[in-house]
Symmetry: C2
Subunit: 194 residues, 2 copies
DNA sequence: GGTGGAAAATAACATAGGTTAAGAAATCAA
DNA sequence: TTGATTTCTTAACCTATGTTATTTTCCACC
């Protein structure tokens, strides 16, 4: 199990010795996901969080009319799960699926609690990680209310890495910024014409 | 300084002795806010978080057309700040203001770091608090994409305590669910007619 | 208890974005 | 490669929500 990506990622936020990294890594379970594999399916009780080592996943909900809405893309170095299901131990409402061939490290909720006691810096790490995620999500709420669809699309292209913007189906981008694929297509043709 | 509300709130998530509560409480600064007082103003670098002991605050941004968008209401027992400004030490984009006469306890960022070292359970407390806030905010993103304005309004009324739903100006509710006051008014007349 | 200013209601009209449908282009399976 | 699916584009038409303007109601303050 190659922990380079994980170690580098954790050390962006907290200081861990090589020995500590080894302890931490031992709690993770490696899992390969071929393209379009569902990692967590709507309706189950999710009890792990996933760190993306390679590839890209997405989490999405399906509304009562059958439309998908994407909550999150998780390229390499990001975390993804249905957190509400994990912390409240309730049925999940999200699907988590690989968009391309991917590899994740899974951390079970029970392992996580144990890990926090053994390496308290990891509790700090997850606090900081969650604070950042909260800021980003709140930013998205504000943008959803104050920006036009075209501006949200431009923002999206500027914010997400090229691997996401250019290598995933456009309908996913539409489902993320909150418009129909048809309307995204129309916006794009307007943007590139002018 | 009456710490009843704060102690009760913290003990919902972590177990603290009376002695620990006292240590924690010593880090907070009490502040009274008459109605419509701005606690944190857009453009400053915010370096504290506020716990609402009494009353109700709101955080909002003003877009380039001068429209306000409300990110959060914080009635008694809630926390509020511009977290992005606090953690990134950058100029805030949010205003935080009391809607009615209120009382808050302020916790400075520096005090918070010190507190985490002295009472590690408080780091756990804030991790859990932030996880919950993240779930709620993500839920709001999904609702913004999948629900109609009328359903968002109904949801809002069912989710927030009566004190918020019935005691604050409707235009604030509109600025929270993401519609104009005029359209909220129209929706309400439709809802109550049928 | 009256008065001035904010908030809410109403209504006519405007528009961003959705819907439906059909064809073109890309991707996939064998 | 080829045929089958899925995705993307285009375009005509539709609807939820916004805009502007006017009127009515609600309060805060004298």
């Amino acid at each position: 199990m190659d922990t380079t990506v994980l170690a580098k990622h954790i050390r962006l936020k907290v200081d861990l010795s090589d020995a500590e990294i080894e302890i931490v890594a031992a709690y993770f379970i490696e899992k390969d996901l071929p393209k379009k594999t569902i990692l967590f399916k709507e309706g189950i009780i999710v009890d792990a969080i996933a760190f993306v080592v390679e590839g890209c996943l997405r989490s999405y909900s399906v509304d009562e009319n059958g439309f998908e809405h994407i909550l999150q893309f998780a390229p390499e170095g990001w975390w993804i799960t249905d957190m509400l299901s994990v912390i409240k131990r309730q049925q999940s409402v999200l699907n988590v699926e690989s968009i391309v061939d991917s590899k994740v490290f899974l951390l079970k909720r029970a392992s996580q609690d144990e890990l926090f006691d053994k390496v308290p810096k990891m509790e700090r790490f997850f606090r900081i990680l969650t604070e950042n995620a909260l800021c980003a999500t709140r930013q998205r709420v504000i943008e959803g209310m104050s920006l036009t669809a075209k501006d949200r699309y431009i923002n999206f292209c500027e914010t997400y890495p090229d691997t996401v913007v250019n290598n995933i189906p456009q309908k996913y981008v539409a489902a993320y910024i909150g418009v129909t694929p048809e309307f995204l297509s129309k916006m794009r043709s307007q943007l590139y014409r002018s």
